[in-house]
Amino acid sequence: MALLAFRARDDTIWLLVFAVPALVGCVVGVIAAILVSRGNPEPYSLETIDDAGEEVIGHIGSYLLPAVVDVGQSSEEALIAAVALALIVHIHIATGRVHVNPLLYVFAYRVYRATSSTGVAYYLVARTDASSWVGSRRLVPLGASLLIERSRDIVEQG
């Protein structure tokens, strides 16, 4: 969104169309980071942990869009980009892949699909290699289905 907003910088309306969601996304990200840093970690025993890295490919379309569509050229191009992005966002939310955000990989986090010993399924965002975890692990829940491994809990648990 931010890249599309940058490309549409000469057209105020399209700039707003792309910049506002980009800004909202950033604010949500910052709020999530604050909630995680102030959250209470709990011990989770995870029975199965599968790398969800391949689901990142589903995001590639959204990242290619600013490269192949020049929204500054015409309103028609911008409209196509906006509709395509809206579809991509909708599909990711509808299929539950909204947590597999490629930007997490930029911050050295990986995304996993995990199932607890009580059978509850989660998306797990972790910095360490989750496949090597033994026993329970302190994680911060963010909502009902997302678990985050914090850096300071990694240090405390070793």
């Binding site: 959250g39 209470n40 709990e42 011990p43 989770y44 010993s117 026993g135 302190r138 829940p141």
Partner: protein, 308 residues
Amino acid sequence: MPRLEEVRADLDAIIDESVSVVVARRNADGGIDAAKLALAEDAGEGFRDLCRDAMEDLERRTGVAYTADAELGRGEVSVLDDDEDLAELSDLTSLAASAATLPITPPRELDLRIQFYAVVLGDDSRVLLVRRTDPRIAYRQGRWLAIAGERLTRIEEPAFSFSPGFDFLLGPAWALILTQAAFERLFREIGLIEKHVRSWVKGITDHLPMEAASEAELLSVAHDDSRTWRRLREIRRRGHLAHVDLAEVRKYAKKVGLEPTAIVRNNKLVFDPSERFSFLHLLNEDLYKGPLTDVTFEAQRKATTESS
């Protein structure tokens, strides 16, 4: 019995580990519906402080056995470590393992349907510190104009609240009862009496026949009266009736001054709710005649002398 020092050491080892908070109530099927609260780290620390206070309180208490006649005094704590005791509490202890993965309940749904809450401590071996909820009439500052703002205003609905202190603690291999009345009320309210009372009565009826009406009366009384179910529970635990017949019961009743026909009639035990303690004391061998005075006494506590 684990010594209180060992329990304190268990708690000391986990006090700085993870904290979860679980709220629960009995569901329509007789099971327990539980949910956890999503906590900010400072709220978790607040609950951890409550646990520290409970640990300090434990240091001032002495351990006593949880017997049929147990009446916990101030400064006492009952320690349970028998496998059967712990099995009866397994519906609660299972919450420790699943606490983190329970569904999250929003704070607005904390209401008076909740029967107890538990702070769950530890990373691997988790301990539950349980408190029966205590609805309170709450007050708030008035809201209307400057003068009314100074007045205390009653909130009409009783409010859910967290309170300092816990009623009982459940570890992987022990349970501590701190407030006996709250523990026993909760035991009944969440359906544990209902779940186990038949098996306790079977401690009698498996060995000695009882009239059907008497058995139903005994079940009903035991459900509501903690002294009755505690004694039934002890009779079953002891298992001594397996080697007793009705003639011996009659003989024992006569010996301690009870009317044998009030206990055994038509070769069946008869239970009269108004004489429930005589009946249960008799079957638990709690009555004896003083050899010097011939007065009938009731034993409050029994200990065998053979092993000592």
